[in-house]
Symmetry: C2
């Protein structure tokens, strides 16, 4: 059937995620994939999750398998609120916490609650393609703001806020950003919050990688400095526990609770109860911080090893970020190098990455950058993949 | 913080679901709740789910806990497609099936893909409040079409389609409808499909209760008669397996696959993998039809018992549907009886139901109807609840 006259306008410009399409190629046997954003499967606490699943289905099957509240499983909400308060210094007397089905849903519900068609959303340039597509499906107008080494360019941010009265939201991943691996400095975080208050817009602080620091010093979350309610914070279990269970949480000022919850009701009623109870059991009986520490050590090793290989195999004309945590490195090539074409050539040699254009607010903007991931491949594959890419780049760059 | 200048227009008229608010009252100890839409918890196959969870976390933890495809877990998609073909006579060579996080999400993704702000959605009057709110959050214009005993009034449907060129979607629950318990006849189904083709609009056939027939004869799904691709079908695990696991599936013409999948990616990436694998394991190792047969017997008993009690305790001036399956009975009182006020009085006597106004496209439309649920309460509570309601009604109706 020809649906062309029936499709809603909001979907016309949204294409299947380039990243997820690359995954299909990259998941073929023998491909060294530096394209994904998956956590290392060996980091999943599978035994503890099995114990939790058993205990829950033995003791409380009627709760785990029945409908539950849209706000989330009550005990898990309490546990997470305590963690937010103690570990992140967020004042939970002024805020609410709800459980959502992954932090992408957090962005979806936030956009649903706040952004009219035609309203503006400011995004880091480059930024996470998944959320850019979320904003696009609400017909938001995207305004890209250049990422410097210390985060979004604050002059350009203020200029954009000043010149566009339609802006509702600033979307930021301040720590170990996807795709750049950059961390926004404390000074820039303070300035961003000051501007959000001044122009009365909301910051959506997406923090899935924030606890995965393996060098350098912690920087406080923007939410922990928020005294006016201008920050919606998204934390996630995907990178520290399991992405397959689809668990994340939003923390926000009480004033917007009703609209976020109504949005959740109308979207998918509530998040998987069994998984919420598994996470709750784990927080009760195990030490999430110790689990995170194991992941940090693993990613420190892999991240530093990838950088070592890049130093060895990549030509001088390429430059790249040196992240202090997270799972991504961003490579910038001289202007004019087409990284989509480069990807086709790399895939012939059985190496996959994501071309930079996928992360741009304007997908027609040429970009000579690319994203590498270091969380899933073992050392020898990292070296082989980087060596092959290095050879390809050397051919291009002479 | 005062969010009044920041909230998106789409959320202004959507309130927290009245039904879910009533649940909070109704879940207090000692309340006989005939308000919910929960399946009987004793119907959950908890032991089999435990076995499945164990096997999966022992044999394939890295798959169960990792990211997976937006379309759904491949093996589960195959199993469900086979079931659709064999049991429902749906031609899967022309259709796609994807797994979603409950059938409410099916309605959300369908609306996202098809309905512009201001586009029309035709709904049965009364209809399921959850999906009415989904449509409202997309700023769809709702057109209610009166439910006769054999389904939507077809003259009124055609009139509505003829007079409103903005209509994109017809929302129907043709079998054991929520809230009325009514089943749309074969003739009306055929006519509805004919009109959908004639006016080139899509039917969203929501069928969570369809397999819970305990008397009368099966009526084919509208999707099984669809040769042109005008029907999107939603099936669900919530009423036959477990709602807490949030599993449902959409079946639709291949022509709309990309947009539905992109919507799913932008909304929550993919459905909980562990739960999908549990359902897949169950379908592989157990007999879902035997499980459904057990639920049918339980609900036949409870539904018929509730009707027996109503015959005994309800005054003659009240009338009600006599469903052949599902979990709901719809009671119509003489005009002028305010069932919201009646609810307050009933709750004082520790009985809860849902007033009819919750199910209307226009929430300001007065309605003297109410919805009763018979799936969760034991016999003695059903009798006590109906007796108390009957006494209240007798007072009102004299």
């Amino acid at each position: 059937m020809d649906f062309s006259n029936l499709i809603a306008d909001r979907m016309l410009e949204v294409k299947a995620s380039a990243v997820r399409e690359i995954f299909k190629v990259a998941s073929q046997p023998g491909v060294i994939t530096l394209a994904g954003g998956n956590p290392a499967p060996e980091s999943f606490p599978a035994e503890e999750i099995k114990e939790a699943a058993m205990a829950i289905l033995t003791q409380q099957p009627s709760v785990a398998l029945q409908y539950n509240l849209s706000e989330g499983y009550p005990r898990l909400r309490e546990q997470l609120a305590n963690r937010m308060e103690k570990k992140f210094g967020i004042d939970m007397s002024k805020n609410e916490l709800i459980v959502v089905s992954g932090s992408q849903q957090g962005a979806d519900l936030t956009t649903k609650a706040l952004v009219n068609e035609g309203d503006g959303v400011i995004c880091e340039e480059p930024s996470f393609i998944g959320c850019l597509n979320t904003f696009r499906t609400y017909k938001a107008k995207l305004y890209g703001v250049r990422m410097n080494d210390d985060g979004m360019d604050m002059e350009m941010l203020e200029e954009t806020l000043k010149n566009n009265k339609n802006i509702k939201l600033i979307y930021t991943i301040p720590t170990f950003q996807n795709p750049s691996g950059k961390t926004t400095s404390l000074a820039v975080r303070k300035k961003m919050l000051e501007l959000a208050v001044k122009y009365n817009v909301i910051i959506y602080e997406d923090n899935p990688y924030g606890e995965l620091r393996f060098s350098g010093e912690e920087v406080p979350t923007i939410k922990s400095m928020d005294t006016t309610g201008h920050v919606i914070y998204a934390g996630s279990f995907s990178k520290v526990f399991s992405p397959g269970l689809r668990l994340a949480y939003l923390v926000f000022d009480k004033g917007i609770m009703e609209k976020i919850v109504v949005g959740k009701q109308a979207t998918d009623v509530h998040t998987n109860v069994f998984s919420q109870m598994i996470a709750s059991y784990y927080l009760e009986h195990y030490d999430l911080d110790a689990q995170i520490e194991k992941i940090r050590l693993l990613y420190k090793h892999r991240g530093e090893w990838m950088l070592t290989c890049m130093d060895k195999y990549f030509p001088k004309a390429a430059s790249w970020t040196r992240p202090e945590g997270g799972i991504f490195i961003w490579v910038t090539l001289p202007e004019g190098i087409d990284t989509q074409k480069l990807l086709s050539e790399a895939i012939e040699k059985k190496v996959a990455f994501v071309p930079g254009v996928a992360f741009m607010t304007d997908i027609n903007q040429p970009t000579s950058a690319l994203r590498l991931n270091f969380s899933t491949m073992p050392d020898d594959k990292i070296e082989e993949g980087i060596r092959i890419l290095g050879e390809l780049l050397a051919e291009k760059l002479g």
